[in-house]
Subunit: 212 residues, 2 copies
């Protein structure tokens, strides 16, 4: 596999390709053309060919791309050919939604624990996932070999959560706490902010640049 | 205001700047340097200066940027100086979390209605927001002058929701339904997919390119 540095926008599109190939595989489609992929994602075919060429030769003249092969290959590039264990810290509405999110398992993610400071929630099980006391965070991360933590606490609790996580082997954080987290020494961070997503939408509505 | 086409990554960073200026204004900070902004967001100062220069001269040698002025200006560019009315279609855990999301109001967004097909949920009020029957979608959108719809239904319901929305004056859709939506003739679409966000994280964990 080519290991040159892949540009960020390409990495982002890889997830879209993977999703597309999952859907095609579920419908027993064996080969697909770059035109078909492009149409279903809303990109131009030249872009699709350029992105997929990054990872070697997959197209076959007259046949198109082999869905199963490419699905497996992109999974490997994105790291989702293996299973990643997740924990959700903060089990309000958003936390509970993510704890029980049906779309994770097929994409290689398994939520194995929830955490909360509210004693009334500790001990609950949702879809077989137990909610632990926040005090047990380090212990359970170690015991369950958790790789990634999704944080959905109020923004004022974010620092306390990160302080605890720095003492663990956690590798990545997906942050929904509404406060922008910088990258941390050993923890890779990705911030998700719904208000920011809405602002990107209103920018286009206001300026009529009109595209996704 | 310069109306040349702003590159997408810059638009994305504008939301981060705006969030930063909101926090500074809340702490009564009047002027800020590009270095301070850069540090708090995790960018390099040259990038910050380049982005902000896009919109005219805001820096003042020796003083830095005027927080209040820049906050207002970026709000205008992003279109959030006015209020946008939102509806949430699908009131499961995620839908309810967004219906009651405390971070919307300050950024210019107001959720005014929820919709569900489940008769057991219709008629509820959450934080003063009423849940209507999905059948009333067009009527309530018109009556409440709703601008943007957040969709959190199961993916199989997405087409039915979009078919109804095409008959309304809705301008934008934020789609959490787990199925990629293409741009629509008159509706601007933005897709949010938590599994995709996790894949972007595992890409970096797997390939050790190691940055946000």
């Amino acid at each position: 596999m080519a290991n040159k540095k892949i540009p960020l926008p390409t990495v982002n599109r890889l997830s879209l390709y993977l999703k597309c190939f999952y859907d095609l595989a579920a419908s027993d489609v064996e080969y697909v053309s770059s035109d078909q992929v492009a149409t279903s994602i809303g990109l131009n075919p030249a872009q699709v060919r350029k992105d997929l060429a990054y990872f070697g030769k997959f197209g076959r003249r007259g046949f198109g791309y082999h869905v199963g092969q490419l699905k497996e290959h992109i999974s490997k590039i994105l790291g989702t050919h293996r299973q990643w264990k997740l924990a959700v810290v903060g089990t309000g509405n958003l936390g509970r939604a993510l704890l029980m999110y049906p779309g994770f398992q097929i994409r290689g993610f398994k939520v194995v624990a929830g955490f909360d400071v509210d004693p009334a929630k500790v001990g609950w099980e949702l879809d077989g996932v137990r909610i632990y006391n926040f005090d047990e965070l380090e212990k359970i991360i170690k015991k369950e070999k958790i790789d990634i933590v999704i944080i959905t606490t109020p923004r004022d609790s974010l620092d306390a959560v990160m302080t605890k996580l720095r003492g663990t082997d956690i590798k990545g954080v997906l942050n929904f706490a509404g406060k922008h987290l910088l990258k941390d020494s050993n923890i890779i961070v990705r911030n998700v902010d719904v208000a920011l997503e809405l602002e990107q939408l209103t920018f286009f509505l206001t300026n009529k640049q009109g595209k996704e």
